[in-house]
């Protein structure tokens, strides 16, 4: 059976040979994923049930204490600290995604309306920040938000911050940093969809008396859904675990779950607890994606 000849997109071969070649080509990727994703993931699960030794080493006494701590139960009673940090991370990721989407739509339409030649210049401008390291970009905001710069001066004038202070660290700076970090992740896939919009549908909606809101939700949104979905996932998932930006621009007062995890694996040397928080983050992200997919199916865009 596996020796029977078949035409594979014009290539004359057998099922057996195709199988062999396919496995050979898949092998490196599979190995990579096993070694660097599946295995460490499993280790993380195991570690999250381990105990921290007195000097930060791992002790293999299995317990659910780490998860209890994450839920707020400790020796001194219940505290909401960790749950607040988790919740805040969800909110920051959601708001970052939302703001990026709201900013991306007009940007995409603007770029799509340019002439063929200048369109790619505009797209390049969107991509340019990627050429720079994320940490450096976060530091760049220090300069922009510095007390000498007009932004801080204006904020001080209106009494948002004390005179002579920079516009960081605070929630505003975190959002600013996050949105600027993730905007291209929404803009680029969304642009791919916006560029291919069938404008006849927009005209049809206008011809059928649709209000501007209806034109957007019925003629534009469904058509841009594929790109928008990719953008939302590409932003929401990493934004949930982001720690560089909140660390630099948010300070200790605006801690996100990413910082908390980094702290546990770093300065606190509490790997089991860090692993437990990571699991919590993963579960929350999964829930978020699941809700999104369910909603997406209900609306059923083709």
């Amino acid at each position: 059976m596996s020796n029977a000849l078949l035409s594979w997109y014009g290539e004359l071969t057998t099922r057996g040979r195709l199988l062999k070649r396919g496995s050979a080509l898949l092998m490196p990727g599979m190995l990579w994923l096993m070694l660097f994703l599946v295995l460490p993931g499993l280790v993380l699960v195991v570690v999250s049930f381990a105990t921290r030794g007195a000097y930060g080493q791992l002790e293999w006494t299995f317990t659910v204490e780490n998860y209890q701590r994450l839920a707020g139960f400790s020796l001194f009673g219940w505290t909401s600290d960790y749950l607040i940090i988790l919740w805040r991370s969800v909110v920051v990721a959601l708001v970052t995604t939302l703001v990026s989407v709201v900013l991306s739509y007009p940007l995409c339409f603007f770029i799509a309306a340019r002439s063929e030649r200048s369109r790619y210049m505009w797209l390049t401008l969107v991509i340019i920040p990627f050429w720079t390291n994320m940490v450096i970009r976060a530091y760049a905001w220090f300069l922009i938000l510095a007390p000498e710069m007009p932004f801080a001066k204006i904020a001080a004038f209106f009494g948002f911050i004390p005179d002579g202070m920079p516009l960081y660290p605070n929630a505003f700076a975190v959002y600013l940093g996050m949105v600027s970090m993730f905007l291209p992740f929404v803009t680029l896939p969304l642009f791919a969809s916006v560029e291919r919009i069938d404008w006849a549908l927009v005209e049809a909606a206008q011809d059928l008396y649709a209000s501007p809101v209806r034109v957007f939700t019925q003629a534009i949104l469904p058509q841009t859904m594929p790109g928008l979905s990719v953008g939302i996932i590409l932003t929401f998932v990493p934004a949930m675990g982001m720690f560089v930006v909140p660390d630099l621009l948010g300070g200790a007062k605006y801690m996100l779950v990413g910082n908390l995890i980094q702290q546990q694996f770093g300065s606190s040397r509490d790997w089991p607890f860090g692993a437990a928080i990571s699991m919590g983050l993963m579960v929350l992200t999964m829930i978020g994606l699941h809700i999104y997919r369910r909603k997406g199916k209900e609306i059923e865009y083709v």
Partner: protein, 353 residues
């Protein structure tokens, strides 16, 4: 025009001196036309003649540089698309892919916030009328081309527009289906009595569907009339060639007729020009064994094209095309006499555009 269906409200359409330029191209150059209420009117012309631009200006999807559009005596030139009492069947149909057939048809009524019961009544009536009732829950991608076209038609008609605009609605259908849909569309329009304006480059479609048609070229209307009028009396050589087939014979005016390379041809009327062209349809040329009394030409059958219902014979000299019925076999190379009867020769004006 459809007399018995004529509505009491005057819901025709008038375009007055409409001009539109795209960059340096004059898409519409002073177009004026009157579409009577309840009439099936066709804008016919080759691609780039401005017919689609005119349709889009009527729909409010394009703004004219100058000129006015009226429906039922009301000036709608300054109204946006959503306020115009016209609806369009788009060339690509432009059905909403994420909505069911029912919701597609209901779209216009929902936009105008009709009560649910009224929407249901109207949508179902249109779906039934266009034989779509069974598909109301399907999505556009599950439909064939002909079905999509009917959905687009239902979606526009459900709003009961004063004027229905059809932008080459049959160009995506295969030839067999197209012929049938043309007749269906004609019947539907007669039944409803709405004013239809069809844009097409297909002359057969224009002849089948229209009460009247306008032949357009380079942004101008060359000739308006019933299909018979325009076919029988094309105004110039462009119309003669675009609508059906025609033999164009150039010549110089002579007493009682014209002098051509085929010899002297007698005419019923005196041409208004010194030098010009006369036309004759291939099926109007009589063919025989003996020389006719007037305007006879002795020629040889140089080529035979079989078309099922008839033969097209190409005669030399003069490259004349003659249409004969298919039961009358004539072999290649045969010497024949043809008669270009004076009453069949159409004196053409000089090309207008």
């Amino acid at each position: 025009m459809n007399q018995n269906q004529q509505t009491d409200t005057e819901k025709g359409l008038t375009a007055k001196h409409v001009c539109k330029t795209f960059g340096k191209v004059k898409a519409l150059d002073d177009v004026t036309l009157d579409v009577h209420p309840g009439e099936f009117f066709t804008l016919l012309g080759p691609s780039g003649c401005g017919k689609t631009t005119l349709l889009r200006i009527i729909a409010g999807l394009e703004l004219a540089d100058s000129g006015q559009i009226f429906t039922g005596g009301r000036d709608i030139t300054g109204l946006p698309a959503i306020k115009r009492p016209v609806n369009t069947v788009f060339q690509s149909y432009a059905l909403f892919p994420h909505l069911s057939i029912y919701e597609n048809v209901a779209f216009g009524l929902r936009s105008r916030k009709f009560p649910e019961a009224e929407i249901k009544k109207r949508v179902n009536r249109r779906l039934e009328m266009l034989d779509l009732a069974e598909m109301s829950n399907r999505h556009p991608h599950q439909l064939s081309g002909g079905q999509k076209q009917r959905v687009a038609l239902a979606r526009a008609l459900v709003n009961e527009p004063d004027v229905l605009l059809l932008d080459e609605p049959m160009s995506a259908l295969d030839a067999r289906l197209r012929a049938q849909v043309q007749e269906d569309l004609r019947r539907l329009q007669r039944k409803l009595g709405h004013t239809f304006i069809l844009v097409t480059h297909d002359q057969a479609e224009a002849l089948v569907c229209s009460d009247r048609l306008a032949v357009m070229r380079r942004g101008r209307v060359v000739q308006i009339g019933t299909p018979e009028q325009v076919y029988d009396n094309p105004r110039d050589s462009f119309v003669a060639k675009f609508l059906g087939a025609a033999n164009l014979i150039p010549g110089k005016r002579a007493p009682g007729g014209i002098e051509t390379e085929l010899g002297f041809l007698a005419l019923d009327k005196t041409p208004p020009w010194e030098e010009g062209t006369v036309a004759i349809r291939p099926e109007w040329i009589r063919i025989g064994e003996t020389p006719p009394e007037r305007n006879g030409i002795h020629a040889r059958v140089a080529e035979i094209v079989y078309r099922g219902t008839n033969f097209d014979l190409w005669l030399e000299p003069g490259r004349l095309r003659v249409r004969t019925s298919s039961y009358k076999r004539i072999e290649l190379g045969r010497e024949v006499w043809v008669e270009l009867a004076p009453n069949e020769l159409v004196i053409l004006e000089e090309d207008h555009v």
